[in-house]
């Protein structure tokens, strides 16, 4: 399950100073944005409020410097009046009035700013919550087929990475876009009210910094790619060498490994400092250009003020506007990047949500209560891929309480039958009938309630032992759970655990052994009291004593039930009422042990090589 992590470590090494993410683009930007907006449709009113609040907050804030400038002007002029001997000095009443107005403006601006953020966060969190919920629900409605072509890591990254990107983007970028654009327009207007000449200079400085930044961006993009590439090489080498450490040791490969590392590490160093230097230039350049503008404004503003064209306070206001100007511009410059990323993430999520779902259950399904467990396979055709049918015209009648062994070499597709039986996959042709009812006549959950399943790939979840057993029947009492555990030969073991039935299985369920896990899944199956059993016998990694326990538990479980066993043990195979022999996905032979041995085909061959007689060698 490390796929999303790997993706992350390779892709976004940047951090706050990493500079430009190497762009990720949505296939259909417009369509995705539209969808996202539609998705947020129910928050229309709230969004309008956000926009209004953001605009107002910005506007109030932007008016500030100009008004503050009036105060400075008044002070300056008051002083001059004093010097030149005019009666009145500084008009404090006037200043007081302005200050009161300003204080009001600032309070309103910040208040609106907070309100805006508050509403937006609520929207963002609700959208995020819903997206996650929908993805999780979707997983339950998707056909299992879907996961043949997608690995879990990818789906997991929808919830972890992609929804996060959308969430952050909503939380920050939406407000940012509004405030930045409003700021830019507002500042330009305010600047023009002070002096058009100075404004032109301020705006004239802007393209210079944009061009400079653009050039550097382009150049550094190259080094960033190099950085990513060599970081990938170095990290890949580290992972590989650490992962195969004993191998490297056993084959005396340390020196060679270090040599290879050094080469990549040096290359990484070069591209690192170059890319970091170039991205580190961005801020200084913006600052330098900003300071240049500052100086020019001081000169020009000074001359204009001397000539009486503008007031002193206007210089101060203008300087403040200049300072405030760069930030929204940088943000706007970055916004297309953020939007692209968001769209790419949203696109993946929406694509996932739009995936074709399982066929709906039929309206009035057969009740599973009265079922006995007769199974009939009728001219079954199936292929994971419609072009490649692997089961051709398979038919068999399996009476209630019979035992069917499924055998074949590893990778022969022994679980395919089980997946079809439980309707995880749909048949291409033919039908499977239980007590004469087609699988499709049941509701899925009703059908599956007939089965008890114990697979080798034991799935337990991060809960207590008791909760895990109870998973077979959610409304089971404690007594039922314990008696199921006893039947599964696991009660004694559970009682030796630190917290007994209340011990929490850790995330990888690695605090119980593989064999014990299998016993727990048997207990779970026993509790569900199924009509038909599906069992996967242990092959390896279970110690002998546990294996004997498992065998005993499985035998208990099988009594009187129709059972399908993926068999490795001779005793199971020989006693089976029917053996299905599988190879390369297909059922190649069927019959009981004697019949198949007599036939001298694939089974006979398999049997002989698997259980070679001592005398044969």
């Amino acid at each position: 399950m490390s796929a999303p992590n790997q993706k992350k470590s390779g892709g976004s090494m940047g951090g706050p100073m990493g500079g430009m993410p190497v762009g990720e683009k949505a296939k259909n930007f417009k369509g995705t944005v539209k969808k996202l907006l539609q998705y947020m449709g129910k928050y229309k009113i709230a969004l309008v409020i956000v926009v209004v609040l953001a605009v107002l907050s910005t506007v109030f804030n932007i008016v500030g410097p100009k008004i503050l400038g009036l105060v400075t002007t008044e002070i300056g002029e008051g002083i001059m009046r004093m010097i030149t001997g005019a009666e009145s000095g500084i008009n404090f009443v006037y200043i007081g009035k302005i200050a009161a107005v300003l204080l009001g403006l600032y309070l309103i601006s910040s208040g609106f700013g907070y309100l805006q953020g508050f509403v937006m966060t609520n929207i963002a969190m609700k959208v995020t919550y819903n997206l996650r919920k929908e993805i999780a629900d979707k997983v339950n409605r998707l056909p299992l087929k879907y996961f043949d072509k997608k690995n879990y890591g990818e789906v997991l990254s929808y919830v972890t990475n992609d929804v996060d990107v959308i969430s952050q983007s909503l939380n920050q970028s939406v407000s940012q876009i509004i405030t930045s654009v409003t700021s830019i327009i507002g500042i330009i207007i305010m600047m023009f009210t002070i002096s058009w000449q100075m404004t032109l200079i301020a705006l004239g400085v802007l393209p210079v910094s944009i061009i400079l930044i653009g050039t550097i961006m382009k150049k550094s993009q190259k080094y960033f790619k190099g950085y990513q590439e060599y970081l990938g090489h170095v990290n890949g080498h580290i992972e590989e060498m650490y992962g195969s450490h004993i191998l490297v040791k056993a084959f005396n490969g340390e020196k060679k490994s270090i040599e290879k590392f050094e080469v990549n590490n040096d290359e990484l160093y070069k591209s690192t400092w170059k890319s970091q230097f170039l991205s580190g230039l961005m801020m200084p350049i913006v600052m330098i250009v900003g300071n240049l503008g500052y100086v020019l404004i001081c000169i020009l503003g000074g001359s204009f003020a001397a000539a009486g064209k503008i007031a002193i306070g206007d210089i101060q206001a203008f300087i403040q506007y200049m300072r405030q100007f760069t930030q929204p511009i940088m943000q706007v410059a970055n916004i297309s990047n953020v939007l692209q990323q968001t769209a790419a993430a949203a696109e993946r999520v929406f694509e996932f949500l739009d995936e074709e779902e399982e066929e709906k259950d039929i309206e009035s399904p057969v009740s599973p209560e009265e079922i006995n467990g007769d199974v009939l396979f009728a001219h079954m055709h199936f292929g994971y891929n419609p072009e490649k049918i692997i089961i051709n015209d398979f038919s068999a009648v399996i009476g209630q309480g019979k035992k069917i062994a499924i055998v074949g070499p590893t990778g022969a597709g022994k679980t395919t039958i089980i997946k079809l039986l439980m309707r995880f996959y749909e048949l291409n042709e033919g039908a499977i009938l239980i007590d004469g009812y087609d699988l499709k006549q049941f509701s899925r959950n009703g059908l599956r309630s007939l089965f008890g399943m114990v697979l080798q790939d034991t799935w337990l979840y991060n809960g207590t032992v008791k909760e895990n057993i109870r998973y077979g029947k959610l409304d089971a009492t404690d007594e039922e759970v314990i008696s199921a555990a006893k039947a599964a030969q696991v009660d004694h073991f559970v009682r030796t655990l630190p917290d007994g039935y209340n011990m929490v299985l850790n995330e990888e369920a690695s605090n119980v052994s593989q064999g014990q896990k299998q016993l727990l899944t048997i207990a779970r199956a026993i509790l569900s009291d199924p009509k038909i059993l599906i069992l996967d016998e242990a092959t390896s990694s279970v110690d002998i004593r546990t294996e004997i326990l498992i065998q005993k538990a499985m035998d208990n479980l099988m009594k009187g039930r129709t059972s399908f066993v993926i068999a490795h043990r001779l005793s199971t195979i020989k006693n089976a009422d029917m053996i299905l022999v599988m190879d390369k996905g297909d059922i190649v032979e069927q019959g009981n042990h004697e019949e198949l041995i007599e036939k001298g085909g694939f089974y006979a061959n398999l049997y002989n090589s698997q259980f070679e007689r001592i005398s044969a060698e």
Binding site: M1, I79, Y269, Q276, G302, R444, Q514
Partner: protein
């Protein structure tokens, strides 16, 4: 941590230069408002005239002043009309007698003189407004010096104008001159900033490279003990992400952490100089800011801390839902899962909502703080200015310093969040660097005994994992002979793989002696020891590359024929040749594009190609199906010939024909002998065999 700091040593000079550059950058940033204030104070308020006392006075004014009883003869000298070359500066000197200020006058005297002129100007002004001389004199007495100087400038300006000087031009020139100085300062500052960017990149990338190299070569020397201690994935994180964290911190640190305090301190100094009487505003602003940050910190921190847990929880539940998709559906527990996920989702959303509500409070609050500070400065400043305790330009500069200081504090608080995170990384890195290798080569290595090539002997060997309470292997004694196969069987946890791992010294025996070729493995070079061994691990580990480079890893100089022979013996030929590229088929990292069984066969081929006297097969047949395995066993017999073969197996059929079978149970040898012997003599072996073989085969 000291080990880690050592990596900074080669970069000290660069670091010091960077700090010097930062000072220059800060000086430049801090001086700009200063010059702006000059433009306002002198350029605008004084029309660009820097002199308080005029450097020349017309004869008419001089006489007038003399009538008032002002004696200027000490400071001024008469210059007759047209004499000297004063006409350039004062055009009227051509046709008028002027009194010129003595060149050698000290600035103190000039200031004194200026005050004098100021008083006279004010006096005249007041009297022209109708005040009687006495009251006027009283007012003048009370007037502040700054104000007097301002008035003196007015006087000077008027006198210059009377002498035909273009005062507008003086003003223009002053403003432009100051502007050019500012431009120069900006450029110097820019150059310094760029140098800092350059130096910090070099230092950070360089240190990252050195530390990475240090860790990597250190880890390459680790034994399995150290790998157990840290776990492989943790070592990978420490060599990759943790170092990147440190690198980022160094860059940010130099560019911000060092810079912010310099600006903050410099800003405070400058601000105090500009407006000592209102400096308390800055202190107040900083206290409020720190209070604000602390408030957010204290409020949000606990929630921040559990955030990662909640995210992990959400991911865990979702992942379980995915991996258990069959089980979930088989039991029809979709609703149960939905509720479980919903709870995790809700918990996370609530927590995130809380945190972001606090975070969104930050921005408007800081805005309000900065705006409020500006307002306060203007309000208080206006009062000070009217009392002549301050000038307008100073107030404007002060405002900018206040902003710079607040920004620095903000930056520093960001660093406070970053540093602890990077400190954790640094700690994790130095843990690795400071770990002592537990297995190393002897100082005086011995040579192998050639007459005993191929013998592997265990003499009363005990082994216990570091920190474990019990021995995994107890009193193991046996000898494996050349030309023979020695097999190990037993349930999981019996210690089979551990035993094999002791031979190539992945671990060292806790007690007892292990001899290879007649010599204790501790007394030879590890590389020499490994030369004797062809090893195939439990998991088929492959490297990225091709099929052939992977097999060749066992013997670099191997010919194509040798590779083919090894692959054939390992039963790998059928799938190699079924692929178009054959031996040149690419293997992706971790061998992700080949199946488990194929990996094992390639890994066996890699061991076989060594043609070494000893082969160790650590349970590497289990992923093969029975048919392939039986073919492999047959081929192996012919290939290994006189070599010593040690095999760990799960299946009895794998080892039935071994010359020596050693049955392990709970770390002890409970049976030793051939298949037949053991069936009758060893109950554990019988138990294993009976579960795997049919009655007639026993």
């Amino acid at each position: 941590m000291t080990k880690l700091l050592k990596y900074g040593k080669p970069y000290i000079v660069l670091l010091i230069s960077a700090i010097v550059m930062l000072f220059i950058q800060a000086l430049s940033d801090l001086n700009l408002p200063n010059y702006m204030s000059d433009i306002v104070n002198i350029g605008l308020q004084r029309s660009g005239i820097q002199d308080t006392a005029p450097r020349a006075i017309g004869e008419e004014m001089y006489t007038k002043l003399a009538q008032f009883g002002v004696n200027l003869s000490d400071s001024y000298t008469l210059v007759k009309a047209g004499e000297g070359d004063y006409s350039k500066e004062f055009p009227d000197a051509e046709k008028e007698n002027i009194y010129v200020l003595n060149e050698d006058i000290s600035s103190d005297d000039m200031d004194e003189l200026g005050l004098e002129f100021g008083k006279i100007t004010q006096m005249t002004m007041l009297m022209s407004q109708g005040k009687d001389p006495k009251t006027a004199a009283e007012i003048v007495e009370k007037t502040d010096e700054t104000m007097l100087r301002q008035m003196a400038v007015q006087f000077t300006k008027k006198e210059y104008t009377d002498l035909g000087v273009d005062t507008d031009k003086i003003q223009q020139e002053y403003i432009i001159k100051t502007g050019l100085i500012m431009l120069l300062i900006t450029l110097i500052g820019a150059a310094a900033t760029i140098t800092v960017a350059f130096l910090s990149s070099k230092i950070a990338a360089g240190m990252a490279r050195d530390i990475r190299r240090g860790i990597f070569s250190k880890v390459e020397g680790f034994s399995s003990n150290e790998f157990d201690k840290f776990s492989t994935s943790s070592l990978i994180t420490r060599t990759t992400n943790d170092i990147t964290q440190i690198q980022m911190l160094i860059i940010m640190g130099i560019r911000m952490m060092f810079y912010s305090p310099i600006v903050a301190v410099g800003g405070v100094i400058m601000a105090v100089r500009k407006g000592p009487s209102i400096s308390w505003i800055i202190a107040l602003a900083c206290i409020v800011l720190i209070g604000l940050i602390a408030f957010v910190f204290i409020k949000a921190m606990p929630k921040f801390k559990i955030m990662q847990k909640l995210i992990d929880r959400l991911n865990l539940v979702f992942r379980e839902n995915l991996t258990g998709i069959m089980a979930v559906r088989a039991f029809g527990n979709q609703d149960f899962e939905r509720k479980r996920f919903d709870k995790a989702n809700n918990d996370l959303t609530d927590n995130m909502l809380y945190v972001s509500r606090i975070m969104i409070f930050m921005f408007p609050a800081i805005m309000l703080l900065m705006n409020g500070v500006s307002l306060l400065i203007v309000w208080v400043g206006a009062d000070k200015i009217s009392q002549s305790a301050m000038q307008v330009g100073d107030m404007m500069a002060f405002m900018q310093y206040a902003m710079q200081i607040i920004m620095s504090f903000l930056m520093m608080s960001i660093m406070f969040i970053m540093v602890p995170r990077a400190a954790v990384s640094a700690e994790r890195i130095s843990e690795v660097l400071e770990t002592k290798q537990s297995i190393f080569d002897p100082e005086k290595p011995e040579q192998f005994d050639n007459s005993k090539t191929g013998y592997v002997e265990f003499k009363n060997v005990n082994f216990r994992y570091n920190g474990a309470e019990e021995d995994v292997l107890k009193n193991i004694t046996f000898t494996a002979n050349p030309g023979e196969t020695t097999a190990f069987i037993g349930s999981t946890g019996a210690g089979k793989s551990t035993l094999i791992n002791l031979i190539p010294r992945f671990y060292d025996a806790t007690e007892g002696e292990i001899c290879v070729n007649g010599v204790n493995v501790r007394n030879v070079l590890q590389s020499d020891l490994h030369e004797q061994i062809g090893y195939a691990p439990q998991k088929g580990i492959l490297h990225s590359g091709t099929v052939s480079t992977n097999i060749r890893y066992g013997k670099e100089a191997a010919s194509d024929e040798e590779i083919k022979a090894a692959a054939e013996t390992a039963q790998a030929m059928d799938f190699i040749s079924s692929n178009e590229e054959g031996f040149d088929k690419e293997i992706s990292q971790g061998g992700a594009n080949v199946s488990g069984g194929q990996k094992q066969r390639l890994s066996i081929a890699r061991a076989l190609i060594r043609k070494s006297p000893i082969y160790l097969f650590d349970d590497c047949f289990s992923a093969l199906d029975f048919q392939t395995e039986s073919k492999l066993r047959k081929a192996l017999k012919g290939y290994t010939n006189n070599a010593t073969v040690l095999v760990v197996a799960q299946r009895v059929s794998t080892i039935m024909n071994a010359e020596q079978i050693i049955v392990l149970n709970n770390g002890e040898i409970v049976g030793k002998g051939t298949h037949k012997e053991l069936l009758s003599s060893c109950p554990t072996y019988y138990e294993i065999a009976s579960s795997q073989l049919s009655k007639e085969e026993l």
